[in-house]
């Protein structure tokens, strides 16, 4: 027979364990697309966000260094000349979690964002634009990293 107090203490321990294991998000963020961040390939990440098959496009550009000395801080920008962009994504192909960031754009901002990402090793970096009409366009660039930014 388990008392209520014991049960409460027990469930608190379990919750604590889950939290430290990173299984339990601190808050229920319904909008955060867990599936997209768990994806291992660009196509899977795009699919999890509701996009179709990605196609390479010249109208999407990715800005970044050719060689990044420190993989912990790699400045990457993505931009497009097209109108009607819904989301801009930054992905690093060889990171444990491919998807780095999703930017949901509105009409009030230009489809041009910059951020800094971590890179575990030299790999391709993708800028993906998900358009309002469901089209998915991407650009890629290989960035060489001399010092990894993940793990260690």
């Amino acid at each position: 027979m388990q008392t209520r107090r014991e049960m409460l203490a027990h469930s608190a321990t379990v919750a604590g364990l889950l939290a430290t294991a990173g299984l339990l998000p601190g808050t229920a963020l319904a909008a955060w697309p867990q599936a997209a961040f768990d994806a291992k390939t660009m196509a899977d990440a795009v699919k999890a966000l509701g996009g179709g098959a990605p196609a390479e496009s010249k109208e999407v550009s990715i800005i970044g260094p050719d060689i990044a000395e420190n993989g912990a801080v790699v400045p990457v920008g993505c931009a497009t000349t097209l109108a009607g962009v819904k989301k801009l994504l930054l992905l690093v192909e060889k990171n444990p979690s491919v998807l780095a960031a999703v930017f949901n754009l509105t009409d009030a901002v230009e489809p041009n964002v910059n951020a800094r990402v971590k890179m575990g090793q030299s790999s391709n970096v993708y800028a993906v634009a998900i358009m309002g009409d469901g089209k998915v366009l991407y650009a890629q660039k290989e960035i060489k990293v001399t010092l990894g930014g993940c793990g260690g």
């Binding site: 990173g22 963020l29 955060w32 930017f103 509105t106």
Partner: protein, 103 residues
């Protein structure tokens, strides 16, 4: 409570360039401490930017965004004196909002 963000918003023509520097550890959940134990992931998950109270950009981030994240974007139609506010929430539920005036 985390340290304040540094936000700079500069008007240029009919748009304003907003640069945000957040102060956050951004632990990936991949690293191990000296005792060989995995350091739990701790990163900013959601970022919201508002211009005079109207949401103009939201972002969802994963653990591969760099430590002390930097973000830059352009807000159309923003002019000097307008308010730009940035709000983030991390995976531990910690949050912070800071506001800047376009100059």
């Amino acid at each position: 409570m985390a340290d304040p963000m540094r936000i700079r918003a500069q008007a240029a023509g009919d748009k304003a360039t907003v640069r945000v520097l957040m102060s956050h550890e951004m632990e990936t959940g991949q690293r191990k401490d000296s005792a060989g134990k995995t350091i739990p992931a701790w990163f900013i998950q959601e970022v919201t930017a508002t211009h005079n109270g109207k949401t103009v950009l939201t972002a969802e981030w994963g653990p591969s965004v760099a430590k002390n994240p930097f973000m830059q974007f352009n807000v159309k139609g923003a002019k000097a004196g307008d308010k730009i506010a940035i709000n983030w929430v991390d995976n531990k539920g910690d949050k912070r909002t800071d506001e800047a005036t376009v100059s």
